[in-house]
Structure formats: C-alpha cells, structure tokens
Assembly symmetry: C2
Homo-oligomer: 265 residues x 2
DNA sequence: AAGTGGTCTAGACCACCTG
DNA sequence: AGGTGGTCTAGACCACTTA
C-alpha cells in the first residue's frame, strides 16, 4: 500500500476510491499520510457533532470499513486524537468523545494549587454579565469582526471565603445565545462543562500569557488586597476543534496562598 | 504472541528467553507491556551513557535483534521516548539522543517572550558562584541530605542591555565538580548545553511554581525596578533520567516588556 | 459468549539521506 | 545502491467489559 495515498487509486485495492467523498461523504483533506487524513475526517465529524461529548464512536473495525482502510490505520488516528485529549479510550468498552462536564474535572485549565493542603473546590460568585460590541483587540483575539457582539462575564473564585481569582471572560455572542446570569448561577459543575452541555462548545486547548502586575484600585478592592499589591495576570485564549478561538479570559490571581503550577518538557 | 509477556517462555518463540538478562544483560523491569519494558531498558542505557547526546542509536532492526522482539515493538518504544523528548528521529538518517547543546535551542525551559518583535538572544552576566551546604529546603528539593555540598549560582539575563531575569541556581556539588565562574564565563551556548557537554547532566523535564511577588530592595536594584514592583517568581525543579532532581532554580522575571507563555491542553 | 480496545508480529512499500 | 525511519496492511492473541 502506498505510504502516502493520494485521492484515488492504489495497487492493492481494486477500485478507484476517492477517500474524501466516496468513503465518508466529506470534503477532501490535503495530501498527507492516510492516518492523518482519517484524523482530519474524524475531527470534522466531531466538530459537526456527529458524536457528542461522552458518546462512543463506532468501533475500530466499523471505522476501518467506513473509511476503507485497515484497523491499524484507524487505530493510529484514534491514538493521535487520544493524545490530543479529544478522545478517551476504554478497554473493553469503546472509544469516547472526551468530556469535561464531569464533576471530577472541576477546573479544565486552572493551574492554581494551594500552598498547603489538597486542592479543594472553590466557590464562585458571578459579578456581572454584559452584552457589548467587540473592540479591535477582542475581535482579533476571538477571530471576529470589530463590532461583533460579545458577552463579557466577570466572576470571582473564592477559597474558604477568601477571594483568589478575578476573571473577565469574553465570549462570542453568536455561540452563546441565551447565556444569562440566572443560568450561570443555576448551573452545577464547572463552567466549561456548561459551555459543552448547554452550548455545544468544547474547549480543546488554550494559550496563556502570564505577567506580574500591580493591583489597580478597583480590582484590589474586589480581591481584598492593597492597591499596588502584586498579582498574577493570566490572559488565556481557548480554542475549540480546528483551532478556532472561542474564549478570551483575563484572570487576576492572588498568589499569596496559592501558586501556578506548570510542567515543562 | 502474548500481549503481556512475562520473564520467559512464550508459544511462538522456541527458546526460553528472560528478556531482562539474556537479551540485554540488564536488570529486569517490572511486569508491563513489552514495548514499555524495552522503553525502560533503553532509558537505563541512556542514563548509563551507552549513547551520548547527539549520537545515533542502533537502527530499529538492530535493536529488534538485540532485544529479541519485532521491529514494530522497538518502534513503539522509540516513538514513546521521542514523544517524551528524549530521542529525536530523522528519516533516512537514524534515531538520535536528543541534545540541548545546540545554539538554536538557546533556552531549554525559559518561556519568556518579548511583547513586541521576535525572540532574540539575551545577554548573561554571572554575579556570583558559591559553594555551601544544603539547607533542609534545598536538600529536600534536590533529593540530598541536609548538609550535602551544593553550588549556588546567581546570574542575570539582559535583553538589549536591560535586565530581565535574575536567577538563583542550586546544583548538587557532587554532579558538578569543577564548575567555576571562569568556565561559566568561557562557555559559549546555553547553560543546559554546558551541563550536558561538560558534566553529562541532561535535563529531561521540569516543574515550576509561579507567583507574583513584590521586589525586595536588593533584587529590585539588580533588576532596575523600584522596590515593591511586581515581579514574576518562578521556582523550577529540573529532572534528569528516571526523574532524579538535579537543579533547583528561583528566577525573578520582569514582565513589563516580556510575558511568560504557556500552552494548555 | 461476544464485543471492545491493547499488544505483538511479519512483511511490504515509501520517502529520505548518504556514499 | 543501500540504509534509515515512516506508513500501511493483515492477522493473531490478550485483557477487559457486558450480557
């Protein structure tokens, strides 16, 4: 079998088979190894919600038949998506779309750890939810046009009653129609879980820019520190399938009783 | 073939073959999939410097013969080590021990990016090198006994003449015998490259704890900021093969013209 | 018992690099 | 031309899960 199979025709398989359209009824991915094409087709199906978070994908033999490739090639695509955190494999049960709506995954991306003791759940308090038009910066960060509608959510996280994190969160209004303060208050479980369950928006990865800044008056008051006190400022852009940005967040962290944990390799 | 082959005996292979001792002359790894056992044996060989950074490993068929497994199993072990950043594979050439002594890899773990413009090389200035005895904290972090000899190195990184990073670096004296201020000054290239080339110490991964702090008088003066100005404090422990800690570092970063970049997934 | 993913093997052809 | 890693296939057996 060709190591890099193009759009059709190969020696061993008898018939012409344009993988892109005939096998799966979907648009053609660019030239690349077969398993990467399969990965692309699977990603497309995921972004089209063919399988929803928590659901099982078809079994490996089924997918192999659907794409007209061997099970080993499907497996390599599934392994790659598993490594990306998009899928979860469970021996004897099947391959599932990764979900972050579970209670156990309280914080999808928050890397803040307490100096002492185990990581406990934080309380949250929603301070404000506004609809407004995206400025140039926010539009660029979220891949929108200047003036498109965005939601701005301000919320506080507290540990044992003491404020620790103040987040400003910008979301494209188009993707989060119907998001209200009441729904936020009512939802049990992590916010990214709500985004996934209620709006079908799954966060796959994020980029952060971290700085140390001096607390401004207003934010110092909310966080219970003196004006000018050092705070960790964490600007985060979160992406869904196919690297589309869907959230911009500016967090201010108190790091007098917590620290931001990171692993490098 | 057994999915999980124990210490000897299987159906297809004719002879008894204790993988641990007969095939490679090394200690037995615990029960696990074959390719993980192979990965463990390769890691051991790497930590014993059977192959040095930058050198090529034997080819896949050779390794398969050496360990008496199929090439596919060796490949899976090599792929895993490549994913860990321990090996580098180059099509047509071979599989090499990852090295960080190249000029291109100026900063192994430093995640600091300039706000504007491309990432340029920084100047460095060594301020101090002392020999002293490990206190309880340092000993614990480096897996030493309290009172063991450690080196403390203080150095500055500057960008365009302006100080940006002040690092205090603790190293086990036993591993870095003969490290002097002169050798540090003389060495061209990144410090981790020097550790690798001159002392055979390879950093594989690191953990960081990040905080925002207010600059103390002495450090503020060195970094050219006002006392009390916010600084990013980055405490890093670096590990070599088999997760042995070999470096403790406390960095103070100015983040007025740079930011710490992080990727989450 | 049947179905799932996990492991292991064997062999083929490919793209890339070097002599 | 010969060696290297990269891709793809086919088939076997295993461990785990469910019924």
């Amino acid at each position: 079998m060709d190591a890099h199979r193009r759009l059709c025709c190969n020696r061993r398989m008898p018939a012409v088979r344009p993988l892109s359209t005939e096998a799966a009824g979907e648009a053609a991915p660019a030239f690349s190894p077969l398993y990467q094409q399969i990965k692309g087709l699977l990603t497309r199906s995921l972004s089209l919600s063919e399988w929803k978070p928590g659901e099982a994908l078809p079994s490996e033999p089924e997918l192999a038949q659907r794409f007209k490739v061997s099970q080993g090639t499907v497996r390599k695509a599934l392994d790659a998506l598993t490594a990306d955190g998009v899928l979860v494999r469970r021996q004897g049960k099947g391959t599932f779309v990764a979900t972050h709506a579970e209670a156990q995954v309280q914080y999808r991306f928050l890397r803040l750890m307490p100096d002492a003791g185990p990581r406990e759940a934080m309380q949250r308090r929603f301070l404000e939810l506004k609809r407004l038009r995206a400025g140039a910066d926010v539009a660029r960060a979220l891949d929108l046009k200047s003036g498109d509608g965005v939601l701005l959510l301000r919320r506080l996280l507290l540990s044992g009653g003491a404020p620790v994190v103040l987040d400003d969160i910008w979301l494209p209004a188009r993707l989060f129609k119907g998001l209200t303060a009441e729904r936020l208050e009512a939802y049990r479980g992590p916010m990214y879980g709500m985004f996934e369950a209620e709006f079908g928006v799954q966060m796959i990865r994020a980029e952060e820019q971290i700085r140390a800044i001096a607390a401004a008056e207003a934010e110092a008051a909310v966080l219970g520190v003196a004006p000018g006190a050092p705070l960790l400022q964490v600007e985060r852009r979160s992406f869904t399938y196919a690297d589309r940005p869907v959230e911009l967040r500016r967090g201010l962290y108190r790091t007098d009783a917590h620290y931001y944990r990171n692993e490098l390799s």
